[in-house]
Symmetry: C2
Subunit: 219 residues, 2 copies
DNA sequence: TAGATTGTTAATCGATTAACAATC
DNA sequence: TAGATTGTTAATCGATTAACAATC
């Protein structure tokens, strides 16, 4: 839990949070161009939304600017990072060290961010590497590792036939949020938030819009 | 282009198409349980939407059932596959054969589907493997390969600093649809459909919903 | 036929946008 | 101060849901 008040948590749609991530990325880019003040119009242009939408989103998270002076770039970045939980390091375990799992463990894009995958778990003992600096451990050690290291987040990247079973192992171990790359759609109960990312579905979506010659709405 | 009439193409939202993919996956599962007739209520349960939503989605794509008898499982699967372009093999090139690119090239989930990555391209010559059955070729050969093999679709998985440049190479070569895994948001012009999938953003989204203890709406 | 389910229309809900008063 | 931009309210738009007549 971040240090902010419970009051500041708003029930928000997935799309709104996705936009906040994009604003954050745009602010990073504008800052690298030495912007000190950023206007809602700047962010609107950079992320292809309306300026009204930007101000509305900010307003919902009580991100306040300066009438006439826009938003201070540093402050804005801080506030967005705060909402997105980038105020401190977030540690993940990777469950399933196959193609996708291994790729994510090595993904350099996380290096600059506050996201870190600290260990992998797999049933295949040929993949085990307990002494690596990013260790791969047997599934049996998952619960213990999660407890000892106070891990709350995990990525699930196992084949379809074991997804449900592995989900339950993770939930039982106390994992609170799972990013699910398996092709099985998992349903979150009260205790675990699940975010499903189905690769085949993403490909199918692109194929549809290419076939029809239409353009999908911006996410 | 699929064999269907232009008239049958509806301008549709990304979310609607994502739901069609899910219905399709649910139908596959129900068929494997020997279902012959499928009701809108069955799909509603299986995909966590309302039965009204299912019928509305079908109605928009002129997928017709039988009053009283629901939808014939085989017919329904066919019609959904048709809309989603799974009526024939779709060939992709992979541009950027790093962690993510390689993982997708080897992803077994595509084997059963009508999605195939036929070749990879990379500037790093240590990655080149022109004689492999899934060849990795130099970037210089991309345009030629695309033309010769009539490729329309591609995955972009290069680092941020080269994303824009590589996008333009792909567009110029005649690629019509790009699934973009790079952290740079690309914008589609009239000629190329771009679908952006930002991994960091997906992680941030999960983190937000775990932190706030709220549950994201079903996509 | 009687009963159940579709297909579609109308009602509702939520998200986006426009407009503008507040104010820096 | 005059002018420009925010923050918020009201209007619009689009997507979801409810309801029910059509019909198998």
């Amino acid at each position: 839990m971040p240090n902010k008040d419970e009051r500041s948590f708003k029930m928000s749609s997935r799309n709104r949070i996705l936009r906040l991530s994009r604003y954050k990325n745009a602010v990073l880019r504008l800052k690298s161009l030495n912007f000190v003040r950023i206007f809602s119009d700047n962010l609107a242009d950079a992320t292809s939304v309306t300026a009204s939408q930007v101000r509305k989103d900010f307003s919902i998270f009580e991100i306040r600017g300066n009438r006439r002076g826009g938003y201070n770039a540093d402050e804005l970045l801080n506030q967005l990072n705060n909402v997105l939980g980038k105020d401190k390091l977030r540690e993940f375990i990777m469950v399933g060290v196959g193609n996708i799992g291994r790729a994510l463990m090595r993904y350099p894009g996380f290096a600059r961010s506050e996201i870190k995958i600290t260990a992998g778990f797999d049933i295949d003992q040929t993949k085990h590497a307990p002494d690596s600096d990013m260790p791969v451990l047997p599934m049996e050690e998952l619960a213990n590792y999660v407890r000892k290291n106070k891990i709350e987040l995990g990525v699930l990247a196992v084949p379809d036939f074991s997804a449900q079973e592995v989900f339950e192992i993770m939930a039982k171990a106390g994992i609170k949020g799972i990013l699910n790359f398996s092709p099985i759609r998992l349903h979150s109960d009260k205790n675990v938030v699940v975010s499903n990312l189905n690769l085949e579905t993403e490909f199918e979506n692109l194929i549809y819009f290419v076939n029809t010659g239409t353009v999908p709405a911006e996410e």
